[in-house]
Point group: C2
Chain length 321, copies 2
């Protein structure tokens, strides 16, 4: 058993490390334990567990806490539920895994109103059903604040899972659908429409070995491209003008006096797939036909650095790395 | 989308339904959604997800909340971690599944001290490694209270999973190990030793088709026997004097002026396996040899009612059903 003694007189807080520092420390601890290692552990969209010679089990856990990830005064509980399930299933989409099912741990204050909680579950269950992922396990515990933790379980053929690593200089950078729609809704003060996890597109990319690397856009295009580049050890050049966005986005941004780049470059939770393809891969048109979704080319992988072309200034939330 | 309108003027709270009422309602909602059903859903120790023709994936989620399930002033954080992981893995043991891996969602207040959190993880990881279940996925979110949600994923041959249903009148009731040890520690004000999930025994029971029904003892012998009987549609007769208990239990109970029955009949979290066997099944001695654990016969399945023999009065926490 390892322990972590503080320096005398120094009380370290969780906030001193931050989320990624804490995850890194837990990951180190897990690796140092000397047990069997998963095929792929902490640090990709989902973990891969060795199951059989020809198949892995993909599993990913997401927490959804009231006041942090949702507020019932800003969206209907059912929308929050659909949004939470979309985010959880999107981790399977980003791995190219097909969903087997979902479990949900609900923590709830005993004096919470019942209706919003049940409507939250209506949304969770509806979104799960749409993607053929039965809500299979439940756990309820009392707590001081309302939260749901969703764990999605999927299966993927051994060696075919989409990974964040694998992008190489010269590969083209593509994205499905449009970006910024969720940020736009948040800026308008009310979320009415939950995003759609791109499960079938992810499975098609994996089955046909179309992508050299893949991630889902949960933190925002530039942040998630940063994760992909870091995992692959490469850089990227992105043309901001080529990034696909909803038709209304520019108009609403002007009306609200906001910079639209903040939404389509840095806005999170659109759950589109960001992926790279090798030279000679099919055109956007052909890929679009095979994935059943619009596909746009937004840049290319380079040796180092993230370079943004065509944007007047880096958007809020952008960190050069 | 179903909704749950309140009666005018009536605000229903979660506490009006209670934990089981709420789970039942969520289960109804999931079944009514019309999607694919899991092989086995909410209501057993783990859910079974249809994976391949010859194998199911077992998955179970447990929440472990500070102030509800553990308190750092009553046990070392590493012990709390080992205890949490034991409880999570025990759900796989109760199904006869072999573990593939575990994910953990940590919710933590940013100003929480780092050392106890890391020591909690040391305990979690140590217990996972001991049972060859890699901690594979992590998720960290800020929250107002500290909690971990563990999701264990396992595999079990199709049709071989141990279930709560299947016990029939005349079947003998058996239990592994001893009961009351965890309650005894809690009564003494400090938990120093985490229980051991009976994974190998569960897998052996499943592989050799030895048990007609099985559950792990997490809520206490009588409560969990109640769950098993309800699922099987039967009753049971239990001889309190035959229930195996740690040697020191009687002595400590007398010294503290407590009724030992409260501990070995109603005390939870021992995570031993409670199972039933058909007439003609091997003796306790032979089963003990095959499972690698002490096995004791404590009663038999009847048509209806739970009858307790040999106890002066029903222990605290006992509810006739």
């Amino acid at each position: 058993m390892q322990s972590f003694p503080s320096l005398p007189g120094v009380t370290k807080r969780v906030s001193d490390l931050g989320e990624f520092g804490l995850i890194e420390r837990i990951d180190r601890l897990a690796r140092a334990s000397g047990g069997r290692e998963p095929v792929l552990g902490i640090g990709d969209d989902a973990a891969l567990l060795r199951h059989r010679a020809d198949e892995d089990v993909a599993v990913s856990t997401d927490a959804f806490v009231e006041g942090v990830h949702f507020r019932f005064d800003q969206e209907a509980p059912a929308t929050a539920g659909r949004r939470a399930m979309a985010g959880a299933l999107s981790d399977l989409a980003a791995m190219g895994a097909r969903p087997l099912g979902v479990t949900c741990a609900l923590a709830v204050p005993p004096n919470a109103e019942l209706d919003p909680v049940m409507n939250l579950f209506s949304g969770l269950i509806e979104a799960a059903r749409q993607h053929d992922a039965p809500l299979a396990g439940g756990n309820v515990t009392r707590a001081r604040e309302l939260s749901v933790v969703l764990t999605v379980v999927g299966a993927v053929r051994r060696g075919r899972a989409l990974r964040r690593q694998g992008a190489k200089p010269g590969h083209r950078i593509l994205v499905t659908g449009t970006l910024g729609g969720q940020a736009l809704q948040r800026a308008r003060g009310r979320v009415r429409r939950a995003p759609t996890p791109r499960l079938q597109a992810g499975q098609r990319l994996a089955a046909d070995r179309l992508a050299s690397a893949c991630i889902d856009i949960s933190d925002g295009l530039l942040a998630d491209l940063g994760h992909l580049c870091r995992a692959s050890g490469v850089g990227a050049e992105v043309d901001a003008e080529a990034v696909p966005r909803p038709r209304s986005l520019g108009v609403v941004a002007r009306a609200l006096g906001r910079a639209p780049e903040d939404w389509f470059l840095a806005g999170g939770e659109d759950y589109e797939l960001l992926f790279t393809v090798r030279p000679g891969a099919p055109s956007c048109e052909e890929l679009s036909g095979r994935l059943g979704l619009p596909v746009s080319e937004i840049g290319r992988i380079t040796r180092e650095d993230l370079v943004l072309l065509g944007a007047p200034e880096p958007p809020a939330g952008w960190r050069h790395f």
